[in-house]
Structure formats: C-alpha cells, structure tokens
C-alpha cells in the first residue's frame, strides 16, 4: 500500500469514521421506543457520538449506531425515562 505523506503530517478531518469501533464492547444498548421521550440526554452524553434522535414515523426516538457503539452504557445510565437497556452480545452468552 502506498503511504500518503502530507506536508507536515496534516490530516483531513473526520477520518476516524473509517474506524468502526462497534466491536469493542460486550454489551449494546437497546432503546425502548415506547418509553423514549427524545430528550437528547443520551445524544449529548454519548462519548462516541453514536446515539442520535431520529424521526420514526410520527415520533422521534434515540437510535444507537452499532457500527461505532462501544457499549459503555453511559446512555443507559443517564436516560431519565429509563428507556435504554444494556444487553450482552449474543457471542458472549454462555449457553446453559
């Protein structure tokens, strides 16, 4: 692969998007769309900028972007409506 060597190591913006960090965590958030009030608390507090309020039909709800979600649980811990649950990824579940 050819290395691009820019003047002084200057880099283009927002290239971290190429790094999918969705596989870092063991858990992932699940939003209860009934409970979600679209208050944006999770959106403001997600360290990874990967949960946003989007329009779904008539309502607005929080939607995690699992490509980047590291499963930290900040959104779960701050949700005032108790609308987010953390679930263990399938691969980590031990079968009984």
């Amino acid at each position: 692969m050819v290395v691009r060597v820019t003047l002084g190591g200057v880099s283009k913006p927002l290239l971290s998007k190429n790094m999918k960090t969705g596989d870092w965590g063991t858990e992932y958030p699940v939003v209860d769309e009934e409970k979600c009030t679209a208050c944006k608390t999770c959106e403001h507090l997600c360290p990874d900028a990967c949960i946003v309020i989007v329009e779904k039909g008539d309502t607005k709800v929080a939607v995690p972007d699992y490509d980047y979600c590291k499963g930290c649980g900040v959104c779960f811990s701050v949700c005032p409506a108790d609308a987010i649950k953390m679930e263990l990824k399938e691969i980590y579940k031990v079968e009984d």
Partner: protein
C-alpha cells in the same frame, strides 16, 4: 453536524470525549482547537484517522496555551477573527503541572482564548500517574497505595483561584454530569473578550477504576459531596455556584472507585477519608454550596 466524530480511540465511557463534544457543539464548530499532548490527542489525532471536524493543532505537552495565543495573534494580524474562537483542550497535568507556564503567559496577556482543562485527575494517557490535580488519597502509579503510604498526599492544586488571580474576565468549573451547564458556560465564555478558563471534571474509567455506566454518576457524586464545586467567576467575582440539595458523605463517592479502594481496607484509611471529608466541608463553606 459532527465536530468530533465516531471512531476515535477513547475508552468506552470516556469522560473527556463527552466534554469535548459538548464544547464543540456549543461553539457550533466555529473554533480553532489547540490541544496539548495527552489522552485526547492520542485518541483523536492519529495521522489519517483524525476525529476532528474543526481546525485542530497538537504541538507539544506543555505549550497549548502559547500555541493558542499564536493562533489568536495570527487571526488578528490576518484579519480573520470572524472565522471562530480559539479553544484549548488540555489535560490536568498539561494545565496544572508542565504547561502552567504557557497557560499563565496566555492568561496574563489576556489572549482571546477559551482554555478548557479536561480534569481527569491524573496523567491518564500514560497510565494514571499523579498530577497537580490528583485528589488526596488517590492511588496512582506514582503515588501507589502501600503499607505506609495511602496514595496521593496533599490536595488538588486550586487552578480556579490561580486563574481568577490572573484577573481573567471569566473562570468556571463544570462537570460532565451537567452537560447543559457546560454548553451554557462555553457559549457565555465565547461572548466575552479575553482569556477564559473552564475546568471540566471528566471521569476516567480506566484510571479511576469505574465502569462506563458510572462515568456520569461518579461525576455527579463528586459534585454532590462538594469535592468538585461547580462555580463561576466573572471579573474576579464569584457570580454563581451550583447549590447542593443534600450533601452526601464523601464515602459515597470514594467507595465506587478502585483508586480509593485502599482507604476502606487500610487501618489508617479512615483518617484519610476524614481529611477528604474536611476538604469537602471546606469547599462547601468557601463557596456556600449547601442549599
């Protein structure tokens, strides 16, 4: 619009990433960032993996204050000040220890810069070594809790007072526990001409030994115990504090973090906890925090 993109390398639940996002959002991306060496730089500025959506520069560990001053001077000289504000992001070590000289120079000359200290209370990038802002009793790799020593001795350097003493028009502390407050303070700072200092409490999951789910709750406990007073100074006058409804004992904050675990096991641990409680009480009195 994203100014600090997903895909950066911060630990899950990282407090400073939260602070940075809220600062940049408050400024709507109209800013120039100078960043000192530290966690933030390492997680966000790898060549061709930059997370930044605003013009950003990292030079060295101890010079972000001066680099920001240089950007501000250049924008003035080139008549480009309308492009945006100059913002520093620096860690607590870069601010209170190695970079205090360039910070002091920047504040003394009153450059039009918003200096944000991301206070995670130790050199976390290199694995939790004590800094001037490490709190009393904290177990760090350079103040390790052992048979006779119980972590960091002495208290946090009072950077807020140091900033106020420089005659700054605006000085504030904040916490990721109150993100709307961060945004309000940054917006306010942006409207004031001159040097501004804002210190934001940003829990470090790795260094503090907490879970991502405790990032915000631990930050909130620091406030609720009065160990991290949230205050605002304008032109040297204390203009606003975040009052505490029912102040909690410091144990509640300490016990959830691995860095303070030894205090609950060591025979002399209670002594240190008492001293920490004394710090909290003094904070509450100094800033009249109790409602």
């Amino acid at each position: 619009m994203t100014y600090f993109a997903s895909g950066h390398g911060a630990c899950p639940g990282c407090g400073l990433a939260i602070a940075v996002r809220n600062v940049l959002d408050a400024l709507e991306g109209k800013c120039f960032v100078a960043n000192s060496t530290g966690c933030l730089e390492i997680i966000s500025s790898q060549y061709e993996r930059s997370a930044w959506g605003v013009p950003y520069i990292h030079s060295l560990f101890e010079n972000a204050g001066a680099v920001a001053a240089g950007i501000e001077l250049a924008l003035k000289a080139l008549k480009r000040t309308d492009e945006g504000k100059v913002v520093v992001f620096a860690g607590d070590g870069a601010t209170a220890d190695i970079g205090i000289g360039t910070l002091s120079g920047m504040m003394d000359r009153n450059h039009d810069v918003i200096y944000i200290c991301l206070d995670n209370e130790a050199y976390q990038n290199t694995g939790n070594q004590q800094s001037g802002l490490t709190p009393m009793g904290s177990n760090t790799t350079t103040t390790p809790a052992g048979a006779i020593m119980l972590g960091k001795t002495g208290r946090k350097k009072d950077m807020i007072s140091i900033a106020v003493a420089h005659g700054l028009p605006y000085v504030a502390s904040a916490s990721v526990a109150f993100h709307a407050d961060i945004r309000r303070k940054v917006k306010k700072a942006a409207e004031i001409e001159g040097a501004k200092y804002i210190q934001i409490h940003t829990p470090c999951v790795t260094g503090w030994g907490i879970d991502g789910k405790q990032t915000i709750t631990s930050a909130k406990l620091a406030y609720e115990t009065a160990l991290y007073p949230i205050v605002e100074f304008e032109n040297g006058e204390l203009t606003r504090v975040r009052k505490i409804k029912e102040r909690k004992p410091v144990e509640e904050y300490l016990k959830i973090q691995r860095r303070f675990r030894h205090l609950f096991k060591h025979p002399r641990g209670q002594e240190i906890i008492n001293l920490i409680q004394k710090i909290a009480d003094e904070n509450a009195k100094k800033y009249n925090l109790d409602l």
